[in-house]
Amino acid sequence: MPGIKAFLHSLFFCCNLKKIIRRIDAFKLLTLPAVIFVFLLFAWMLGIYFYNALPAFIREGLAVYFENVWQAAEEAGKEYYGLASAIWGTLYTSLIAVTIALPISIAYSIFVVDYVPKKMKNILIIVSDMMAGLPTIIYGIWGAFILVPFLQKYVMTPLYKHLSFIPLFSSPPLTGYSYFSAGVLLGIMVTPFASAIIREAYQMIPFTYREAISSLGSTRYEATKVLLGYIKPAIFSGLILAFGRAVGETVAVSLVIGNTFNLSLGLFSPGYTISSLIANQFGNAFIYKHMLPVLYAGGLALFIIGLIINVAGLYLLKRWEENVRI
């Protein structure tokens, strides 16, 4: 190392070389490698998933994503795995979460921007930020010990008793660990992320619009209705990003979803998500011959779903922001 230092030293004090170095730009020389490293890291990650998932694709083809079987056997020939139930669980619970986050985050944004005094507003924003940052395992322990029993007793059982002719409510809530519990917990967890985006957008609406609507003699409700139409794209991208968060959440979900291979529309039946499947099965996947590649294939699916959702959400948000600035 001292050799390199002395070398650099002599470079900097040699006049001609100094000029050349300046043309290369020492700043870029220092920062660009870090940037390239991060890009490579990301590509490497994608590569690792693809490479390790390959045996699963070779053995089972794309059927690994579309079949709902999970046969772990001591004999390698009898092993067969399909990820359909986990993919379904991931999408289903995230959909429930977004359905819950939608009304709450919109109401929160309107309430914070339009109706509360400044001090209260700050408190509400801090609360929302805290919810966004709270360690997910704390949501998990609360979900498993408090939320699930509560939902089972006061929501699932009554709904099942009285409305079980509706397919959504037709499965008996035996333990309470279910798509529904996971969806509600995820809804609570991702609402702050959607809220932050929608609130910012709602705040960015040019004041002249508010004035114009008020001058027409509208009530606040009518004005809000019009203004919400204006930020529709931002609401949409906020929800997409919230969906992305819900898709990737692991430990909190795996503590409340019941971890059962199940493919059902019934809200109250237990299930699996891709991330909870990885969390649960990865540890013992090494015992079996063909399980590991399948889990990597699940990871790859999660990777790609996450990538598409986030890129789409970010793109929509950016496009909307650019339109508003002009």
Binding site: M45, A107, W142, L302, G306
Partner: protein, 276 residues
């Protein structure tokens, strides 16, 4: 006038509805904090000093030590890279690489953390043949990076443009302008980012599942050996059927909540907006 009354009625109903929904949205936080205190505090008070001992003695000392080691190590790995990347994204916001970097950082912010854990396992744990503190810290560093980088970039962007002009006007090279003048000006914002990133990784569980390994019966001795962490311990204890383990989990949750609040609240009070 009935039309007016109807409109007024709708208005009242609307305000009522959004108030109730907002309340429903923030209520869980208070309920969570309250339940963690109610269930965790008696456990800690009852155990007293033992709670800082090993799991065998009825404490979570090694896990707390492990969390601090992991946060420290991951900062050591992640911070330099994150700062450089953030500074690059600030300096070239309109270049192709600069734009791509910003997008990549946003994607990494939202990225499923379990995937990072599995990645770290396949490139570090499997070749090394053992779980290790280093593997856990590497996974956490990947999660820490985007937070710090985004905050760094935002903090630098807040500096008035005249400072840039003045520094370049003195004939300083770009590297000197950035590192000697602009970075020190933005250090408060950057520090905020560092702390937010640390608070975030201190509470992460999923990236540690297959990397850190867990060590609760003795204190960690080497970064090449398994190490425990508070969130990881909670995850294990919650899944156990024993009631005593659940009590321990609540106690550990309170410790984790306190660590989070201790970092988060001062940071949050000292600035206006936080992105998580």
């Amino acid at each position: 006038m009935s039309g007016y009354k109807l409109r007024k009625g709708k208005e009242i109903f609307f305000i009522l509805a959004i108030s109730i929904l907002t309340l429903a949205g923030i209520l869980p936080l208070f309920h969570i904090i309250a339940t963690v205190f109610i269930n965790g505090l008696p456990v800690i008070l009852e155990k007293g000093f033992i709670f800082t001992g090993t799991l065998g003695e009825g404490g979570i000392g090694p896990a707390i030590a492990g969390t601090f080691i992991l946060v420290f190590l991951s900062s050591l790995i992640g911070l330099p890279i994150a700062l450089l990347v953030g500074i690059y994204a600030y300096e070239y916001p309109d270049s192709k690489i600069g734009k791509a970097t910003k997008t990549l950082l946003q994607i990494m912010l939202e990225f499923p953390t379990i995937l990072v854990g599995v990645f770290a396992m396949s490139i570090i744990v499997i070749p090394m043949g053992t779980y290790s503190a280093f593997a856990g810290a590497f996974a956490l560093a990947i999660i820490l990076m985007p937070y710090v980088a985004v905050y760094t970039q935002e903090a630098m962007r807040q500096i008035p443009f005249t400072y840039r002009e003045a520094s370049f006007g003195l004939g300083l090279s770009r590297i000197k302008v950035i590192f000697k003048i602009l970075v020190p000006l933005a250090k408060r914002g950057i520090l905020t980012g560092v702390l937010i990133g640390m608070a975030k990784v201190a509470g992460e569980t999923a990236p540690l599942l297959f990397t850190a390994g867990g060590l609760y019966q003795s204190y960690p001795s080497s970064i090449a050996k398994p190490v425990g962490a508070v969130p990881l311990l909670i995850y294990t204890l919650v899944q156990s059927p024993s009631k005593a383990d659940h009590a321990m989990a609540w106690g550990a949750s309170l410790v984790l909540l306190l660590i989070f609040l201790l970092i988060f609240i001062p940071v949050r009070l000292s600035l206006r907006e936080v992105k998580l």
